[in-house]
Symmetry: C2
Subunit: 296 residues, 2 copies
C-alpha cells in the first residue's frame, strides 16, 4: 500500500475517524519536516510497534525562531516517511494551524523556561502545545519522541499524563554519529565536518561529567566545573551558554547529582545554538550512559 | 441498564476504550457535583442526542476558591445523573486529579482574566483545564456546556478547536426560574427567596440593556449606564462589581455593541458573587433574547 498523504488537518479527519473505529494500534511521530536519519529511527520504531504509523509534517510556527524560514521539502519528507514504514502522512500550514483567532497554549510554568527554553524562551511552550495538538488530532495508541530533545520528550510526557490523554509516550534513544558523538540534528545539517568535531566535544564533556558522578562525585558545582573546563579547552568557534545539573522533573538546577537528573549543555556560535544532554534516570543509565543509536 | 459508576479515572479507562471501539456516539457533561435541575437539562440534552452519556463529577480544585469546601453528595449526584439519562458516571478526587507533580494548564492569555475571571483570577484557567482534561479522557463525540456560564462555554469551545480535539461543543440554554429570572446555580442554592428576587434584578437589567440596543443604541457607555442605573435602584444587599459590553471572542470591553457581543454583570454581597449575562451572537438573539429554559 502506498503512503496516504493528507495535506491538511481537515482532509485527514475522516480517515482518522475510520482508523479509530478499527481498534488497530496507531503509532505517531510529529515532526517539523526536513526529515533525516534520526527521524527515520523514530518512525521505524513506531512502525515496528503498531498497526498504523502516522507521521505529521509541519514546521510549527510557535516553536521556531520568529520570522525564520524553516527549509524542508514536503515531497521528500513524505517519501522518506514511507520508506521508514509510515502509512499515513499529515501535513498542514500556518493558515490552517494558526488562524487569526487562535488563542490556546499548553502551559507548564517554570519548567518550560529552563534548559533549551532558557535560551529560546518561546520554544518549549510552542513545542509542547504543538505536540499535544497533533496527539489530540490523531489519538495515537503511542506517540514517539527522540531523546535528542530531552526537554520536549519529558514535557510532552508530563502534559499527556496531566491532561488524562490515553496515549503512551515512548522515548527513542538519541541518534549519534559514531566518529564524533554529535547527535543527528536538522539544526546542524549545514555545518562542515571540522566544526561537527568541535560540536562533538559537548558529548565527550557530558560523558566526562557522567563518569565523575559514577566515581562518586555528587557536588553539582564540581561536576559542572569539570564539564565546563573540558569544553572550554575543546571549543574554538562556539561558546558555552550553560552547563547545568538539573532535576529530571522540574529542570531546576540542583546542588547534588542524585538520580533521576539531567546533565545538560548549550553552546552557540552566534548563529547556531546546539543543545546536548544526558538524561540519567536509573543506575544503569548512570553506569553505562543512556542508550544511543550509533550511525556511521 | 443501571448506571455504571466508576470512582476513578483509572477505573474508567478500560470501559472508555471499549466504548470507543463500538463506534457509537458519546455525549459528555462535566460537573463539579451538587447536581441540580440545570445540570439535569444539560444531561437530558446529551442523552437525547447520543448513544451513550457520560457525566463526570469532580469538584475541580483549581477552579474553586482556594481552601473552600465544595458540598456535594456523590451518591445523590449519581442517582440524579441516571434519572436524567446518563449511563456512565465517572468521579474522582484531588489525590488522583492533582498528584504533587501535576504541572499542566490550558492557557488562553488575556481572555481568561476577563468577565468572571476578573473577579476570581484562577477560575477560568482552572475551568478550561478541567474541562479539556475530562474531554481528553472521555473522547466524547459531543460535550455539553450550559450557557449559564458564558465564559466557560466559549473558552472551552475555543480550546477544543485550537487543540484540534475531535469533539463538538454544544451550548445548552441557561435555565432560569420563571418568577424571578434568576439562573439556577449551585452558588445561589442556600439563598432565601426574597434575596433571590434581588438577584433576579440582574437579569431584568440585562434585558433592559438588550432592548435599548434593539432600539438602536450602540454606545457601550450609554448601555452600561442604563443597566447600572436600573440595577442600583433594585439592589439592597448586593453591590455591583461590574457591568460590561464585551467582545464575544476576546471578552475585552468594546466601545460599540455590535454583534457578536456579550452584555455581562457581576454583583456581590461579600460572600456570594453572582454573574449573569446575555451572549448575543445573532440578530435573532438580539431581537428575542438568547434562548432560555424556563422552570417554575
Amino acid at each position: 500500500m502506498p503512503v496516504e498523504h493528507y495535506t491538511s488537518v481537515a482532509k485527514a479527519r475522516p480517515r482518522l475517524r475510520e482508523l479509530w473505529g478499527t481498534g488497530r494500534s496507531i503509532g505517531s511521530v510529529h515532526t517539523l519536516g526536513a526529515l533525516h536519519v534520526a527521524h527515520g529511527e523514530v518512525i521505524k520504531r513506531a512502525a515496528g510497534e503498531n498497526d498504523h504509523t502516522i507521521v505529521t509534517v509541519y514546521p510549527n510556527k510557535i516553536q521556531l525562531f520568529p520570522g525564520s524560514v524553516y527549509q524542508y521539502d514536503l515531497e521528500e519528507d513524505v517519501a522518506f516517511a514511507e520508506h521508514c514504514g509510515a502509512d499515513i502522512v499529515i501535513s498542514s500550514d500556518d493558515t490552517e494551524m494558526y488562524p487569526p483567532d487562535y488563542a490556546t497554549y499548553v502551559d507548564q510554568g517554570d519548567r518550560a523556561h529552563r534548559l533549551n527554553s532558557s535560551v529560546f524562551d518561546y520554544a518549549s511552550r510552542g513545542q509542547v502545545t504543538g505536540a499535544i495538538r497533533w496527539i489530540s488530532l490523531c489519538r495515537p495508541t503511542a506517540s514517539y519522541f527522540g531523546m535528542k530533545d530531552i526537554e520536549q520528550s519529558l514535557l510532552v510526557q508530563r502534559a499527556v499524563k496531566d491532561l488524562l490523554i490515553d496515549c503512551d509516550i515512548r522515548h527513542v534513544p538519541c541518534v549519534r554519529y559514531r566518529d564524533t558523538g554529535v547527535p543527528v540534528s536538522s539544526r546542524l545539517r549545514f555545518l562542515p565536518l571540522e566544526r561537527l568535531t568541535e560540536v562533538g566535544a559537548v558529548y565527550h564533556a557530558l560523558e566526562t561529567g557522567r563518569r565523575l558522578i559514577c566515581d562518586g562525585e555528587t557536588n553539582a558545582t564540581v561536576i559542572v566545573d569539570a564539564v565546563r573546563e573540558q569544553l572550554e579547552a575543546a571549543l574554538t568557534t562556539f561558546q558555552i551558554l550553560y552547563v547545568t545539573v538539573a532535576d529530571a522533573e522540574t529542570f531546576a538546577p540542583v546542588d547534588r547529582a542524585e538520580l533521576p537528573f539531567i546533565l545538560h549543555v548549550a553552546i552557540t556560535d552566534g548563529t547556531i545554538t546546539h543543545f546536548d544532554g544526558l538524561c540519567l534516570r536509573t543506575e544503569q543509565e548512570l553506569a553505562e550512559s543512556p542508550e544511543v543509536i550509533w550511525i556511521p
